[in-house]
Point group: C2
């Protein structure tokens, strides 16, 4: 390809931003001071309350489903699952039902040729540290239609009208299939080319700065991570290896570390060097979708077997899995808002991890086809390990394939490790350790039928068509090219 296409120049711009940690408005330290000041300026309080103290939320008489008086937002209901996948083939559980497509969106604008991302310091009641770095917009359909009676979210117009911005990323992506019933959001990145008002809790950051913040625990929220995961990465289609060298030079990056070079190799690799061709991956996925079935029947919350409700929580009779709780929230600076709402509490930490390993000299990622009740179409592709309540499951002797590789990882194998939070608007203190480890090229491992090695280029190709679940995407967003 001689002249760069629209896609190629977009990929190049994103890459330049990812390699840039300098910021013409504020360096990362100044940003952090600003962020800390935001925390101090604002008044926040989140308290667990009895269900009977919920305002506007109530247990519907007939079903005991937990609902909002407006009939909107989300409901907590029950489901009964039957599947032939995994060790437990039949169970019942509560689930969040929110059958609307929301918008998670980030505005970008180029300064000196480098795209900056408009990020928000945003509080969510379930966040372990209250304030996290969030996308420009997190809007549910209830927001557009103003069920709250509140304001229309700022900047939303740039995501609703193609004449106001250029849409660079615009994909439907799913949320947690174990907690949400068929929920997904429109993940968007749009570009403006003129000055826009920057509101109080917002600031411009380069992608390089955000990638650096992703190395810290619980700093960048889930909504930001899923949007960032959709950013196209460079490959041999968009531009050649030589242009890649030029871009590195242009960004003042003299040398990438070894793992970053492996990542680039995994993006630029031609299909014949990958373990599986695209068609073979589709065949693997097709076979599993044909083999595995799952039926998910919606049932009244009151009928969910083995779960009990007190005035403080709805929880499993034996297992310390998630529970449903209620909180009261106060937040604001001058004007104080207060409300009550239910949240899903996840008492124990989970683990999301990629095993990576060079095969034929090319870095591959070990991916897992996973059936979850909230999935829209039976199976999505999860990371090597995606396991909630790790300690409990280890104590009980659950067999989680490949978990031991992460629990026993030697420091020199660890390419990424940080704790990240799930969405604080629905989950209370739901934390997962996110890890990427690299095995030796010689460490061959046997794969169960629902695991497959993919190059990073292949992972990104399937991601844009919606195959990758939220756990895969959150891990991908944490991957950066390091100097």
């Amino acid at each position: 390809m001689n002249q760069p296409s629209k896609s190629a120049s977009t990929v190049k711009d994103f890459l330049l931003s990812a390699l840039t940690e300098e910021n013409r408005f504020q360096n990362t330290e100044a940003f952090k001071n600003w962020f800390t000041r935001k925390k101090q300026e604002n008044h926040f309080s989140v308290e667990q309350i009895p269900f009977s103290s919920l305002q506007q939320w109530y247990f519907e008489e007939e079903t005991q489903n937990l609902k909002h008086a407006s009939g909107r937002f989300f409901t907590i209901e029950g489901i009964r699952i039957n599947t032939n996948f995994g060790p437990t083939q039949c169970w019942e559980q509560p689930i969040i039902n929110q059958p609307e497509i929301g918008i998670l969106g980030i505005i970008t604008r180029k300064f000196d040729g480098i795209p900056y991302f408009l990020m928000q310091a945003k509080m969510e009641p379930g966040n372990v540290n209250i304030l996290q770095l969030s996308p420009t917009v997190q809007a549910t359909k209830s927001n557009f239609t103003q069920v709250h009676g509140g304001r229309l979210p700022p900047y939303l117009e740039y995501f609703l009208d193609r004449r106001k911005s250029r849409y660079l990323v615009d994909q439907l992506q799913t949320e947690q299939g174990g907690r949400f019933l068929r929920k997904r959001n429109r993940n968007m990145i749009v570009e403006v080319d003129h000055e826009i008002d920057i509101l109080d809790d917002f600031c411009w950051l380069t992608l390089g700065q955000i990638k650096k913040l992703l190395k810290e625990d619980n700093f960048v929220n889930m909504d930001a991570r899923t949007v960032l995961s959709c950013i196209p990465m460079p490959d041999s289609l968009t531009f050649g290896k030589q242009s890649m060298e030029d871009i590195l030079q242009e960004s003042g990056t003299s040398r990438l570390d070894n793992f970053s070079q492996s990542l680039l190799g995994s993006l630029f690799c031609h299909e014949e060097r990958a373990c599986k061709t695209t068609d073979e991956i589709i065949s693997w996925f097709t076979e599993l979708k044909t083999k595995y079935h799952i039926t998910v029947e919606r049932i009244p919350l009151k009928n969910v077997k083995r779960w009990k409700r007190t005035n403080m929580e709805i929880s499993h009779e034996e297992h310390p899995l998630f529970s449903v709780i209620a909180v009261s929230v106060e937040a604001g600076t001058r004007e104080v808002f207060s409300w009550t709402q239910p949240l899903l509490k996840e008492p124990q930490q989970g683990l999301l991890g990629f095993i990576t390993r060079k095969i034929n000299g090319v870095l591959h990622f070990l991916m897992q086809a996973k059936v979850e009740p909230g999935n829209i179409d039976i199976i999505e592709i999860a990371p090597t390990v995606s396991c909630s309540a790790v300690n409990f499951k280890c104590q009980q002797g659950y067999h989680i394939p490949f978990l031991d590789y992460f629990l026993n990882a030697a420091p020199q194998q660890i390419r990424y490790s940080a704790i990240q939070s799930e969405e604080g608007g629905r989950f209370y203190h739901f934390l997962n350790r996110n890890m990427v480890i690299e095995l030796d090229e010689a460490d061959a491992i046997d794969l169960p039928e629902n695991y497959i090695w993919m190059t990073l280029g292949q992972v990104m190709e399937f991601l844009k068509h919606g195959y990758m679940n939220i756990d895969t995407r959150t891990l991908l967003s944490c991957i950066g090219f390091k100097h």
Copy 2:
């Protein structure tokens, strides 16, 4: 790319076969004689019968759904639809429910380096001409599990065991979203490299021969067409234009006609010459999926409003749309099989058509995002026009966008035109005229929001991820490269 990848050599082999009409076993005329003999040898009779004469099939007391005594095969039930797409936003109708993934598969084997396809002369009760050319295998899960009590379909083992063949195409693809509830099949092409027994009703044909037969009315059945539509076409990823010239030479093809050359241009075109990039097409699709919703509620057949049942058919009170009928079937040569079953009768011919047109010198296809009640995920991509009961709708003054282009097409605009049958195991005499027309480069047309121009390469790229509906695929299968 210097050395051909696995994908590239597969694409090349398929292309060689598509350009080959010579057959070392029998030329096309000899094949046709064989096919005619098959028709004569066999005894077939299909007769419409009253529902009360159905054996094994019955109307369930509570719902009046039409079911098989075994509880398997399919059922005819009712659905109630609510959508914000299209002029009719709320209706009820009968639908076929068959919640299983079947296998439609073709075995290939190379002779003198050219892949041959193992095709079957197969009768289906709903076929207007009884016998049509069918894939090697059409198997429902009921077939595997032998609900019939009959034989296991021959050759099925090559599609169930990767050790017995090489899987070249293996994709989940949907069926008619207006007639089937979330039905799809695994579409497979597998290669064997050793001699296999050729049973009585089977024969080897090159892809070029099959493409030639696709120019005739009602010769190649729907199941064969959907499998053939998944065959990867050449593009700049798999090999360059120069290798393309070599392949044409290798196959003895001196010159392709103009439209075939346009098709190749539409496959090899770089993204920057296409109207929309892949990401822009995904964005278009995402926006429509966010905007349009459809809820499909399963209801008892007895409750379906505006449909009435007599002992001979279930039909709409006013409109000559499809109806449900029952038939008794006798078929066989030495051994005669007989059975009864319901079918969907489609009394009027439909029309499926692509408008194509060069834009910036590159041939583009006009594609339509369409919401149908049986779709698995709201929207699939249909051809420019996909319209049942054309005469009735014209008389009633329905507005079908772009239909007039086909009804008034000048002979020199028509690139393909033939009548093709829908699946004769479920549909009785359901015929659609399939057309491809080419407009002048100067004929600009305004597009409603749910239409988009795509290159043939883009159509094929989205096809393998399951975006293209059966109508799009059946038209694509008819496209060939002509000398």
